[in-house]
Amino acid sequence: MTERSSTALLASKSIYRRRLINRIVQSAFLFASLVSTAALVVIFFTLTAESMSFFTNVSVIEFLTGTKWTVLFADKHFGILPLLNATLITSAIAVAFATPVGLAAAIYMSEYAGKRARNLIKPVVETLSGIPTVVYGYFALYFVTPQVLRGLIPDLGIHNALAVGLMIGVLILPIVASLSDDAMRSVPEDLRLAAYSLGARKYQVVLRVIVPAALSGIVASVILAFARAMGETMIAAIAGGFRPILSFDVREAMQTMPSYIAQVATGDAPHGTIEYQSLFAVGLFLLLITAALNFIGIRVVRRWEIRY
């Protein structure tokens, strides 16, 4: 079908016209592919511009070292540390949950499951990252905290960092499982066979050959998952509470950086006020941290790709 119509087309148009069309399409497509780069530029400049006006009112030192964040109160303090601390704690809990579970799932999928079982299991595990995060927030607030975690820790708050961390852990589990699975499956067959020929049992091949060989891929998956965890908003906003307190007690409510942004967005922060500008300062800070983590993660993946 296509062959015939294209032959007809080739015959009907002069070569100059066809080349011209090709040129025009090429430029149009180049233009389209520049959109993502333009978007990055817009993101960076918008955040920086509004943050500049924020930092004319607030000193950078206070922002980075202050331990009180009371922007939405009458007596305003602008120390990001409570928000940063909460973000790091919930993300650390998430990674502490997702790494062992995700790695175990990856080992099972790549080394033990048959092809059929794998084709069934992998999409199911990946479904976990396709569920809207509002749904996870709901599940954390009304099921995980009151019906599961309260049984283990009776004095747990309704809003608490532990449930938020665990739920984000479930959300990022597919990232760890899927990327680690890919990393382990791309370990060359030679290494496996060499280990078997030395008389190793399967578990020894898996734990002492495959996992170490895929280690940089696994580490990269954990770093990327950590970056994803730091940016998670709705779970923290629903189940974590809006309480910007510098605390290390995971049984308490804590406000993360994205959750602060969500709180300001929920309320009323008129254009041009310090509350409005603080959105951009927090956003920029969050972006810089996650971008650094992603940069490291991608670098680690690259290094590992070169090795084989």
Binding site: Y203, G231, A291
Partner: protein, 300 residues
């Protein structure tokens, strides 16, 4: 193991080590399968809890009624329409852009340095937290360009948010088209555009649409960026134009979840069932298209 045979089987410690290895060999797959089990258990318990809580409240009025302070009368009509308009428009912007980007990267640019830079930027864009897209949308689209807290501002934000995901799938689709078909067309004197139009795109299209649908289902579940752009609104009318204020299903759910009454929790659960059902339908469609893609590739 070789040592073991040479030194004789009487050695107790060697025998014990061999038994230990045998036990471990059986144990490791069991431990590893626990990882899979935990993941599936979470998914199943989440679905069960939502269905048990929300099934009783699942009525047609949930979609046809406007939100209300009375949980018995409340529905998510305005949010459903808002989602359809916002996500639909985002898809119309994002899918053609992604296809064009993927075609440029894979068919025109080859491995030149700027193509590497573009790829790297797409990877970076995928790493930007979704809430940051919302903040930038608020500063740049809502106030900077003066679009207001409108459907079009939300749609543009979602389009750029999903752009990297859809582009990656489109590039994969193009890579899966065998090179000999391209080379055959080039050998007959076709221009790159003609190769793309008549050889590559017809074969890659189902997989690209799969990417588009996955992007749409991701956009449909996003609450954070829309929350920043639209605020948490109580809307009791249908959107009339692209500049209307709006809300979306995940935000409507968020506002119900934040209320303490049990009736609103049930309402939220019912809304979650609807949202998950839509996502399930979209993903099934995506899987169907992907299978068609591979069948079409095999047919040549």
């Amino acid at each position: 193991m070789g040592d073991q045979v040479l030194k004789g089987e009487g050695d107790v410690s060697l025998k014990r080590a061999a038994t230990r290895r045998k036990v471990l060999d059986g144990l490791v797959p069991v431990i590893a399968s626990i990882g899979v089990f935990v993941a599936i258990a979470f998914l199943v318990s989440l679905l069960l809890y939502v269905v048990v809580t929300g099934a009783g409240r699942l009525t047609p009025t949930l979609i046809t009624d406007y939100p209300s302070a009375n949980p018995r009368e409340a529905g998510m009509r305005s949010a459903t329409l808002g989602s359809v308009f916002t996500v639909g428009l985002a898809g119309l912007i994002c899918i053609p852009l992604s296809i064009a980007t993927a075609v440029y990267l894979n068919e025109y640019a080859g491995n030149k340095w700027w193509s590497q830079v573009l790829r790297y930027n797409i990877a970076n864009l995928a790493g930007v937290p979704s809430i940051v897209f919302g903040v930038v949308g608020l500063g740049f689209l809502v106030y900077g360009l003066g679009l207001g807290r409108s459907i079009i501002a939300g749609a543009f934000t979602l389009a750029i948010l999903t752009l990297p995901y859809v582009t990656v799938v489109c590039v994969e689709a193009l890579r899966a088209v065998p090179d000999d078909q391209r080379l055959g067309a080039y050998a007959l004197g076709a221009t790159t555009f003609e190769v793309v139009r008549y050889i590559v795109l017809p074969r890659a299209m189902p997989m690209m649409l799969t990417g588009g649908i996955l992007g749409i289902s991701r956009a449909l579940g996003e609450a954070a960026p829309i929350l920043v752009i639209s605020g948490l609104l109580f809307i009791r009318e249908d959107p009339t134009s692209l500049l209307s204020e709006f809300t979306v299903i995940p935000l409507q759910l968020y506002s119900w979840i934040s209320r303490p009454q049990v009736a609103f929790q049930q309402l939220a659960a019912a809304g979650i069932i609807v949202l998950l059902a839509i996502l399930l339908a979209l993903n099934s469609l995506a899987i169907y298209l992907r299978q068609r893609f591979y069948r079409r590739l095999e047919a040549g």
